[in-house]
């Protein structure tokens, strides 16, 4: 018990100190709350204030500079001259102008007095007329009288006169007022029109002056900058948001990233940290958008501000557009925001959400590379991705559709029978019977329409069977193609043998390798394979380097590597390949050892053909099964084209390639490959590891993909990504090797994709899996960090779209054709040899043998090819680039090039898509209707001949003629092709300025000069043309399109020989 106090503890104790202390703390916390409310929760306030400071000081620095620039333009002689002209023109019309202005002034004065009186009178009359209109019949007369009286009523005014300052007092009735009013108005309109006419010349000069000024001045004028400065100094510090109601989009990013506000920083002003003197400051989000062109692209009117209004920021960049309370929340980089801001190196992922259907996108090189890798590296062999390698799926659905249509046809047949039965029934009334008969008669027409669709679908299935490719080579050919003992070595040491191969390294035990090798070997087809004599390796090397192999293949190891990385590096091909097969492969890579029957699911041998009494012949022309019932797969599923080499050339190249080997190459013998006991285990393993995703393997042709679908992988909840035992380290920013992660926590999609791609087995770390088949199956691709980043970007962007459908890029018409075309262009690596996108380089362009003057040995760039080429010709050319059935070992157009346009054995469907692609890229209307070429008169023909053979423009010096002696030095195509190959409007534009279309072309520019409405030859005019009034370029085009072999022979006899002294080379 506590001691009894002397004083009452309740009344004697003072609480003053506690009350004082806590009241003080209360005030303090209130102050804190207020500060938090103003700044703590609203960091954008301080950002905006800092922006105002930085931007206005930038503008203040900029304005004098710009004014100085303006001054220097104003003082330039051209400007002065234009200004003087303008002033002179104004002075010339000044007297008349002042007359007109004086009269207009006087009219205005007079109208000023007249108008109010007239309007009042008109109001009174109009009201009375209304009363008259609604009056009863008996009242009408009196109402009419009232109107008449009102019209007669006079008004007295003092109107200023039209001559001078005199005032004329008048008495006018309503009718007179109206007349005078209209007269003055008409006169004034006439005077205004006259004024404009008088000033027209001076105005034109003024506009010229202004446009000269704005052209010379880069950026904004000092006045405009002053306006911006005023705007920024009076800036209202508030939340700045983009609100697209229909898209449910609210983006407040500009509250901090205020430099992105296009009303403050116009599109032609670029703000960077350096310009704002904030370089090195990590917390200064004031730059303007670094790629305004990208914004322009996203608006039909190319207005960047409208694009921003519609799309906002977060749909592309990720992040939480609504959040304003902190950087972390705005960027959405916390575990509760599912769409965090993409990191700088992955920002192109934002394109993928809307552009998932595009294989190639401008402004997105990393994403393009990711997609390219996804296809080329065979990710698609295991992981389905919407749009990638979907030929098999399309084939399935086409076949299903055919079945449906046939079923429908059968139903129609039954329907016809039923209708006729009912019509024939005597109980049916005549009229009804007639209708039934009519319907029965119309159904066969409907059925024939179905037949048309079925026929198209069947064409399509044939196309699709041809289009279906595999990433890896067909393993049915291993027995004829490979050295036996190399196979197990390859499986165990994939990347040691060829570091940049598409084949990933599988995690296999020794026993598994033996079983897989044995299965593959034993399932290989035995032949037949023709024996080939040896060729000349030196010539082979030369052919290999000039025919175009290096557009896709690379050669040389490490730093010595040259060539494209689309196909295999051939540096050690001699260690693995069988010479005889190599010759056949180079001659025609699509040549199968045996055709595959997709219905019977077997490879057909000579015996199967003999059963039907047919020779063992199969190619694109003999592609039916021996029983003639269905199509066979007659080509290997490779994208490698035929270069239309002769057998001797193929032997030479093969003889060269077979020498490419390391001198110490030695593989242990592998007798177990013939052990039949291993086969079944091998089959299980091959199925288990999904080898058939990339390779054609006998008996496993129909195997599906074994991996997870990745179409929406970026949207997968992060909990469903199997970080396994690394989960906790990922959440704490510790990398699998124990080092700290540079960006902290990596428990997110980016972290998962990056680690998985660097080492797919990493998530088995620490797991106890004694059975290899329990381990993660994904093999290791040998990717560079840049490639890992590209694939990560692609996967990060592969999300379930969060924006409304109308924002997604699902184009139709020409844009769809472009979209479709890129899939084929990238599938066959057209860009390995050709330039198709402006600014893109082909693999060949970087080779040493095409540098400097040798650049004209390169294949032609395809800029504007759709505007250049006749689509029907283009289709024919793509189908057969030799443009000949018999003389196939040549280029159809540019026979003078050593490099050869290969035959890709494209399907009809692919050719159609490619032709449409090129037309769409050049904005050509479809279908193509060839313009009518006016026939030449005899005089015109003479003139054209003179131009053609003019010493200042000897066309036939460079253009091929078909004469081998002449063509040896030719650098441009034969004119005989022009008529069917080219489009006349393009040809005319080409003649006028070829360098503009294809920079660096050998075709000279400036051959013609403008004279009034026509183009005339720029050199000394031949006598025949002096009196010609027509367009010279147009005349030449007509002549060219009507060229005949006889005409060409005539020209050859008249022109100098080709000398080959040209630089660059196209057209």
């Amino acid at each position: 018990m506590p001691a009894q106090p002397a004083q009452d503890p309740i009344t004697s104790k003072s609480l003053s100190f506690h009350l004082l202390l806590w009241s003080f703390l209360l005030i303090l916390s209130l102050a804190w709350a207020l500060y938090d409310e103003m700044y703590g929760l609203r960091p954008w306030r301080s950002y905006q204030k800092r922006f105002i400071e930085a931007y206005s000081s930038y503008l203040q620095r900029e304005i004098p500079k710009q004014q100085q620039a303006e001054q220097s333009i104003r003082s330039s002689p051209e400007y002065q001259k234009l200004e003087a002209q303008w002033k002179a023109a104004e002075a010339a019309v000044a007297p008349r102008l002042s007359e007109i202005d004086g009269e207009i002034n006087r009219i205005n004065r007079r109208l000023g007095v007249l108008t109010p009186v007239f309007q009042e009178a008109r109001g009174r009359v109009a009201a009375l007329v209304y009363q008259l209109e609604i009056a009863r019949a008996d009242d009408r007369q009196s109402r009419l009288r009232e109107v008449e009286q009102a019209k007669q009523q006079t008004y007295s005014l003092s109107l200023p006169g039209l001559k001078g300052d005199e005032v004329e007092p008048v008495q006018l009735s309503y009718t007179d007022l109206e007349l005078e009013f209209n007269r003055l108005k008409d006169r004034k309109a006439a005077l205004v029109a006259e004024r404009a006419a008088v000033l027209a010349e001076a105005d034109a000069l003024r506009r010229q002056l202004e446009s000269y000024f704005s052209e010379k001045l880069a950026g904004l004028t000092g006045q405009q900058l002053q306006g911006l400065l005023r705007a920024v100094n009076n800036l209202d510090v508030r939340i700045r948001q983009i609100h697209n109601e229909s898209a449910g989009l609210v983006d407040r990013c500009q509250s901090c990233h205020i430099g992105m506000d296009l009303s403050l920083v116009p599109p032609n002003l670029t703000l960077t940290k350096a310009e704002l003197n904030l370089e090195g400051n990590p917390d200064a989000p004031f730059s303007s958008h670094p790629n305004i062109e990208l914004l322009r692209l996203h608006d039909p009117d190319r207005d960047p501000a409208k694009a921003l209004e519609r799309i906002g920021c977060s749909p592309c960049h990720g992040g939480n557009g609504r959040a304003t309370s902190s950087v972390v929340k705005g960027h959405g980089r916390h575990k509760y925001w599912l769409w965090p801001l993409y990191y700088r190196e992955n920002f192109e992922a934002g394109c993928q959400m809307c552009h998932a259907q595009d294989m190639v996108l401008d402004h997105a090189p990393v994403l393009n590379r990711g997609k390219e890798l996804y296809r080329e590296r065979g990710c698609v062999g295991c992981h389905r991705f919407e749009g990638f390698d979907n030929e098999a799926e399309q084939l399935l659905s086409a076949r299903q559709r055919i079945r449906q249509l046939e079923q429908q046809k059968r139903e129609y047949e039954q329907e016809i029978a039923r209708l006729q039965r009912r019509a024939d029934d005597p109980a049916t009334p005549l009229e009804v019977a007639r209708q039934l008969n009519e319907r029965a008669a119309s159904l066969p027409v409907v059925m024939s329409q179905l037949d048309a669709e079925i026929e198209q679908l069947q064409q399509r299935t044939v196309s699709l069977m041809r289009e279906e490719k595999k990433v890896g080579p067909s393993l049915k050919e291993v027995r004829v193609k490979l050295k036996k003992e190399w196979i197990p070595y390859w499986l165990a040491n994939t990347h040691e043998f060829r570091p940049d191969t598409k084949m990933p390294q599988f995690r296999l035990e020794e026993g598994e390798i033996q079983a897989i090798s044995a299965f593959i070997w034993q399932m290989g087809l035995p032949g037949p394979l023709e024996k080939q004599p040896r060729g000349d390796p030196a010539r082979g090397k030369q052919l290999f380097e000039t025919r175009g192999c290096l557009g896709c293949h690379s050669i040389g190891e490490g730093a010595n590597k040259i060539g494209g990385d689309f196909a295999a590096n051939l540096s050690r091909i001699g260690e693995k390949a069988n010479y005889d097969y190599l010759v056949r492969w180079i001659y025609n890579p699509r040549q199968r050892t045996r055709p595959y029957d997709p219905i019977a699911k077997k490879d057909l041998g000579p015996g199967d053909y003999a059963k039907h009494g047919k020779p063992f012949v199969f190619d694109l022309k003999n592609s039916r099964s021996p029983d003639g019932k269905h199509e066979l797969v007659v080509m290997l599923p490779t994208v490698m084209p035929s270069l239309r080499l002769t057998w001797q050339e193929a032997r030479d190249i093969a003889s060269y390639l077979i020498t490419l080997r390391r001198s110490d190459a030695n593989y242990p013998p592998a007798p177990y490959l013939d052990d039949p006991n291993l086969r079944e285990r091998g089959r299980e393993l091959v199925k288990f590891y999904g080898c058939a995703g990339c390779h054609e393997i006998a008996t496993l042709e129909e195997e599906g993909r074994i991996g997870t679908e990745l179409t929406n992988e970026g949207s997968k909840p992060v909990d469903r990504l199997d970080f396994a035992l690394l989960t906790h380290n990922a959440k704490r920013g510790i990398l699998p090797d124990g080092s700290p992660s540079p960006r902290g926590k990596w428990y997110d999609h980016k972290g998962f994709f990056e680690q998985k791609l660097a080492n797919p087995a990493i998530f088995d770390q620490g797991k106890y899996k004694p059975d290899p088949r329990d381990r993660l199956r994904m093999p290791k691709p040998n990717l560079t960090p840049a490639d890992i980043n590209a694939l990560t970007t692609f996967l990060l962007g592969s999300v379930d779209p969060q924006v409304p459908n109308d924002l997604l890029y699902r184009p139709e018409g020409a844009r769809k054709d472009i979209q479709d075309g890129w899939w084929i262009i990238t599938k066959y690596n057209c860009m390995g040899c050709h330039q198709i996108r402006v600014g893109q380089r082909s693999a060949l362009q970087d080779l040493p043998q095409y540098q400097g003057p040798n650049a004209d040995k390169l294949p032609p760039p395809l800029f504007g090819a759709g505007a250049r080429l006749n689509p029907r010709w283009l289709a024919r050319f793509l189908e057969n680039p030799a443009l000949s059935e018999t003389d196939i070992h040549r280029n159809g157009v540019r026979n003078y090039l050593e490099i050869r346009m290969p035959t890709f054995y494209l399907s009809d469907n692919e050719i159609r898509k490619l032709v449409r692609f090129f037309e769409a890229l050049s904005a050509q209307e479809r279908p193509f209707i060839p313009p009518v070429i006016q026939p030449l008169t005899e005089a015109e023909r003479t003139m054209a001949r003179d131009l053609f053979t003019h010493p200042a423009a000897p066309c036939l010096r460079c253009h091929a003629t078909g004469d081998p002696a002449h063509d040896r030095n030719a650098t441009a195509p034969n004119f005989l092709l022009a008529g069917e190959r080219l489009r006349p409007p393009w040809t005319q534009r080409w003649l006028l300025d070829p360098a503009r279309m294809i920079p660096g072309t050998a075709m000279p520019s400036g051959l013609f000069r403008r004279e009034g409405e026509r183009w005339i030859f720029a050199g000394p005019l031949p006598a025949s043309l002096r009196n010609y009034r027509g367009d010279h370029a147009e005349l030449l085009v007509r002549y060219m399109f009507l060229m005949t072999p006889a005409e060409q022979r005539l020209l050859i006899s008249r022109s100098p020989r080709a000398t080959g002294a040209s630089t660059g080379g196209n057209e």
Binding site: M1, L19, W22, L26, L30, A33, P717
Partner: protein
């Protein structure tokens, strides 16, 4: 993984868990504080009872009245000023708390994805924890209803007039212990378990053990009739299980009722109070207390002996 202090820090520092961390300190403190006051009052009562003269005039809770002290103390200012001070302190605490910790809004709801562990708000964690031990309709419907009814009937059962307006232990021993067991022993402890102990998969993680989503534990829960010697005794037949369970539960009811009765009859004071109660009051109190006691017993059976159900019937399981 043991000794994972980072894990513990993650749980303790989560904004959701601030009230529970505070609870860990505040509940023991106020329990201790209340008991100190109660014991002081008890001593005062003893002192006053010795001096009937003093008893008639006392108005203080801890000190006997003394000459010279005011006989009465006014609400204003003596009570109001203390309450005012308390109001200021609470306001300061709440202000600072609300500035420094924002409401933990999480990601938009996704019907395709359940978070793991999915936890109820902290004040319902006790109910969620009960789901481990009983079927949902018992833990989620019956028990909460009984808790509410039980709280409602307290004034009708507890007619002991003593202890109103002052802290005392001696005069309200039974009520205090019932409260301590029911609120702190069951409700608070279950909230603490739900917050700190239950991790992914609602598995039992000791503090500083890593919350591993991939953790696997081997636990087999059996019904009572499959356990120990009972599996040899009870026939494998649902009706036998029903009868067996009914017997066990009946035995528990009888035993618990006897125990409670013995506790009520323990002291002269409580006997006095007990005798004053009507039969209805006694029965109601017995049932509520028996059911309350069933919870820790079931928890014990489940956690220590891995017993799933005691009473299996075709209609319900307990």
């Amino acid at each position: 993984m043991w000794g994972d202090w980072y894990q513990l820090w993650e749980i303790v520092s989560a904004p959701d868990n601030v009230p529970i961390v505070a609870l860990l300190f505040l509940v023991p403190f106020y329990t201790w504080y209340a008991f100190r006051q109660a014991f002081e009052t008890d001593r005062l009562i003893e002192q006053l009872e010795k001096d009937p003269q003093l008893a008639k005039t006392h108005h203080r809770k801890t000190h006997a009245w003394q000459p010279g002290w005011p006989r009465e103390v006014h609400t204003w200012p003596y009570l109001m000023r203390v309450e005012f001070l308390a109001a200021i302190i609470v306001t300061v605490i709440l202000t600072v708390w609300s500035i420094t910790l924002n409401a933990p809004l999480e990601e938009p709801a996704n019907p395709n994805l359940t978070m793991n562990p999915a936890k109820a708000p902290w004040y319902f964690l006790g109910l969620q924890e009960m789901l481990v031990y009983f079927d949902p309709w018992i833990a989620g419907v019956l028990m909460p209803t009984l808790i509410i009814i039980g709280l409602m009937v307290i004034p009708y059962i507890d007619e002991n007039p003593l202890g109103n307006g002052y802290y005392t232990y001696k005069q309200r021993r039974f009520a205090i212990w019932t409260f301590l067991i029911g609120f702190i022993g069951l409700w608070v402890i279950m909230i603490v378990i739900g917050t700190f102990i239950r991790g992914p998969g609602w598995m039992w993680f000791w503090p500083t053990q890593t919350w591993d989503h991939n953790r696997l534990v081997f636990e087999v829960n059996r019904n009572l009739h499959e356990w120990w010697i009972f599996k040899h005794i009870v026939p494998q037949n649902i009706w036998a299980w029903t009868v067996f369970g009914a017997i066990v539960v009946g035995l528990y009811f009888a035993g618990a009722a006897y125990l409670i009765h013995r506790i009520c009859m323990a002291t002269e004071f409580s006997r006095k109070i007990y005798r004053r109660m009507s039969l209805l009051q006694i029965v109601t109190m017995q049932i509520l207390l028996i059911l309350m006691l069933a919870l820790p017993i079931k928890m014990l059976l489940r956690l220590v002996f891995r017993i799933k159900y005691v009473w299996v019937t075709p209609w319900f399981n307990v």
